[in-house]
């Protein structure tokens, strides 16, 4: 039986803590297997990864705390992590910390350990990477290390399963009889004397002060409060602070120096150099892969492969899903032909909505397969190293490369991939500009309009140029947007960009599989629900109001049309057009037409844009219906192109010309007509604020650019 503290009668919580890259996630996977859930800490973007393990019949919750270098948090993410450890915010204060310590990087790991000891929590140590250490010709004396740290130390090599059973039983016994380790890092005498003086002054006044807190009050800047003490104690504190720091105010230097001196001593005493080894294989590989020419070539090749995989290789799978849902629609359509409203709800609402969710799975799974692979081998960090300068100047960093590149295929996996960025501020900036990258759903719009208005007039060469240029519009706009976001909108400071290039290693397929599985599931569960709900709403707006009387009216209008007009479209397509025009969405399109006239769009184009809110490519079938051609048109359709050419404003001017064709393309390049993107931003930022911001700023930009281009067209021609 575990001794259960009074304050909690629920499941005990064990938290895995440690430096980034210490092997925490791998150990977490070994401990919890697939029993894990990935969510967010309430109200923040920081990911909460937790799972359960069964220890001798007792269920224990295991939380993987994001990697930290120090308990002194710099970024918002780090504050969340330290708050979870220290105060048990966002849930329960952990009952036990398992400190994951990288044996091959002992000094820095010991530094953080010495800080964590001051949190006053029971803690045991799992020491990883002992195999790496041996490759460097060194050997760790576990017993000596345990002696220095004053707690249990268990060596583990997670992916080989070595030591995991021992760690489990160490966790079980530490929960039964907790040990709070404490180490004396040996602060300089001037500091310990000052701590003594302050505590003595407090004792005289009858209050006992925590020595750690007093030391922080003496060294930190700004100093934390030592609590409610009489003014005389504060006077002594201030005196001693001045005495130590003088005018230099280098309190944190003193603190870091003392801890690192201790860490270096422990490391030297616990690690034995067995034999000298030359350059490691990792170094040899890196000579090539971070080389100024070959490194960049290799990088481009890898990125090309990743991009092609989501842009092209996902295609057959997506076609398969499309085909499957198409067949399902046909079947349901036939089954429900007796009840038109139900038929439309099931076919155009429910099945279309589910299809709109599932269609993203291939791209998400393929992208996360590659990210897990690149991360697992150690190449992801190299990619960030190579690209940092390129992205850094506008406020992003090297890690943003993959999310942004992926967004050229689809913003949904791209936004999810922004999780590779540990810093909340740069991650949010990346998420907010990712939808500006020209994704594959914009392509049909470009193909339709370039094919209809650019190619016939200016030839194939200019059509190619236009298509190419459209892919740069979003990128070009993204740069100033990031600039503004970083300067004015996003609060908090960014972490300084630090990165470790881990040793190259074979990917662990179990970790890769788990990553793909959990990302896919997470998308379906959270973003998927929102996408589905929005699909139903859009369907209702396009379907209602609908009545038999109205249909009869449309039919009689059709009969009374002149013969040559009736030849241009079938009765069914005409009715569909009328129904769309009179639907809530169609009425809305007519109501807001005046706002879009400056951009060169009449109510028909406007309604097409509005109907494309679920996804940009939906504008094609929407325009098909609006121009009485039915919804079965595609971007290559000659009929739709002809219809756009023939369409006129009420005063007889042609509706479209190359200028407002470009203005419409630019509108689609910059707008955020994609509910999957918005749902994913909601999921990733854990709230509606940022999806609303993204939608608003992108729509505003799209509108302004569209109006400007149309105006320019009016001036020039």
């Amino acid at each position: 039986m575990f001794s259960v503290p009074e304050s909690q009668t629920t499941t005990p919580v064990v938290a895995l803590v440690g430096n980034p890259n210490a092997g925490k996630s791998s150990l977490f996977n070994s401990l919890t297997g697939s029993h894990q859930k990935i969510g967010n800490y309430p109200g923040v973007t920081v990911e909460k990864v937790s799972g359960f393990l069964d220890l001798e019949g007792v269920r224990v919750e295991c939380v993987d705390i994001p990697g930290l270098y120090s308990m002194r948090a710099v970024s918002a993410d780090e504050s969340v992590a330290t708050a979870v450890i220290e105060a048990g915010e966002f849930g329960q204060r952990p009952d036990l910390l398992v400190y994951v310590m990288d044996a091959a990087n002992l000094e820095r790991n010991l530094f953080f350990f010495s800080q964590l000891c001051e949190a006053g929590l029971p803690m045991i140590v799992a020491v990883t990477m002992t195999d790496m250490l041996e490759k460097e010709g060194k050997k760790l004396d576990v017993a000596r290390l345990a002696g220095h740290l004053g707690t249990v130390v268990v060596p583990v090599v997670a992916f080989k399963g070595f030591g995991v059973a021992q760690l489990r039983s160490a966790i079980a016994s530490a929960l039964r009889s907790p040990v709070v380790p404490s180490v004396d890092v040996g602060f300089p005498e001037i500091v310990t004397n000052a701590v003594g003086a302050v505590r003595e002054a407090a004792l005289v006044e009858g209050s006992e002060l925590d020595p750690v807190l007093v030391r922080c009050a003496l060294l930190d800047d700004p100093p934390p409060s030592v609590g409610p003490v009489p003014p005389s104690v504060l006077v002594v504190l201030e005196e001693q602070r001045r005495h130590i720091l003088g005018r230099s105010a280098q309190g944190k230097t003193i603190d870091a120096q003392a801890r690192y001196a201790w860490a270096a001593g422990v490391s030297k005493d616990s690690v034995e150099v067995v034999k000298a080894v030359g350059k490691s294989p990792s170094d040899k590989i890196d000579r090539l892969l971070t080389h100024r020419v070959f490194g960049l070539v290799f990088f481009l090749a890898v990125m090309y492969l990743v991009f092609q995989s989501i842009y092209t290789f996902a295609g057959p799978l997506m076609d398969l899903i499309d085909g499957g849902f198409g067949a399902m629609k046909d079947w349901a359509s036939a089954m429900l032909s007796g009840t038109p409203v139900l038929q439309s709800l099931v076919v155009d609402g429910i099945i279309t909505g589910i299809g709109a969710v599932v269609i993203f799975l291939p791209q998400i799974c393929i992208l996360f397969f590659f990210i897990a692979l690149l991360e697992g081998t150690g190449y992801l960090a190299r990619a960030a190293f190579l690209m940092d300068k390129l992205l850094g100047w506008c406020g992003l960093n090297g890690r943003a490369f993959i999310p942004l590149l992926s967004s050229f295929a689809c913003a949904v996996p791209g936004i999810m991939a922004a999780r590779v960025m540990p810093d909340a501020k740069s991650r949010l900036a990346t998420i907010l500009v990712a939808p500006l990258m020209s994704c594959s759903a914009r392509l049909p719009v470009y193909v339709l309009l370039i094919g209809a208005f650019i190619e016939p007039q200016y030839g194939a060469a200019w059509a190619g140029v236009a298509l190419f240029a459209m892919h740069f519009v979003g990128l070009a706009v993204a740069i100033p947007v990031v600039f503004v976001l970083n300067r004015g909108v996003l609060k908090g400071r960014a972490l300084p960009f630090t990165l470790e290039l881990p040793r190259y290693q074979m990917p662990r397929w179990k970790d890769v599989g788990l990553s793909v599985y959990s990302r896919g599931r997470m998308f379906l569960q959270t973003a998927g629900t929102i996408i589905f709900a929005m699909s139903i709403v859009i369907w209702a707006l396009l379907f209602f109001p609908r009545s038999d009387e109205a249909r009869a009216r449309y039919l009689s209008t059709y009969e009374s049309l002149p013969q040559e007009q009736r030849q241009m479209f079938t009765q069914e397509n005409y009715v569909a057009q009328q129904q769309l025009r009179d639907s809530y969405l169609g009425r809305f399109g007519q109501a807001v037409e005046p706002a879009f006239v400056p951009a060169g769009f009449d109510w028909r184009l406007t309604t097409g844009i509005l109907a494309a809110f679920p996804a940009r490519e939906v504008v094609i079938p929407a325009l098909g219906i609006i121009f009485s051609l039915g919804g079965d048109v595609d971007e290559e359709s000659g009929d739709l192109r002809d219809a756009l050419h023939r369409a006129k404003w009420p005063d007889g001017r042609p509706l479209m010309n190359p200028w407002n064709a470009v203005s419409m393309m630019v509108f689609f390049a910059l707008c955020c007509q994609c509910m999957a993107t918005l749902a994913t931003i909601k999921r990733e930022t854990n709230g509606w604020k940022w999806p609303i911001v993204a939608f608003t700023y992108m729509t505003a930009l799209a509108y302004v650019f569209a109006v400007a281009i149309n105006w320019l067209g009016g001036v020039v021609s």
Partner: protein
């Protein structure tokens, strides 16, 4: 004569020592927490193709950092 210099002067293969800490802003404190305390020696192991960031070997591990985010530290050359 002041023989100290900043991170912008570092070249691949150079060996340097942290000579002084200029301030206590979060970026600089983070570098100290990563092991770059006064007196610590390190070598420059890589420089990214575009000149920044750089990778150094300090206290037995490899750390990449940006030159301009490291200007709170002054260095001296180790012969």
């Amino acid at each position: 004569m002041d023989a100290t210099f900043g991170f912008e002067k570092l070249k691949k293969g150079m060996k340097a020592r942290v000579a002084a800490v200029l301030n206590q802003d979060p970026d600089t404190v983070r570098l100290m927490e990563l092991g770059l305390t006064p007196g610590t020696e390190f070598t420059v192991t890589k420089i990214a193709p575009l000149g920044d960031p750089i990778e150094i070997n300090v206290r037995g591990f490899r750390l990449c950092l940006r030159r301009r985010e490291s200007d709170g530290l002054r260095l001296e050359l180790v012969k």
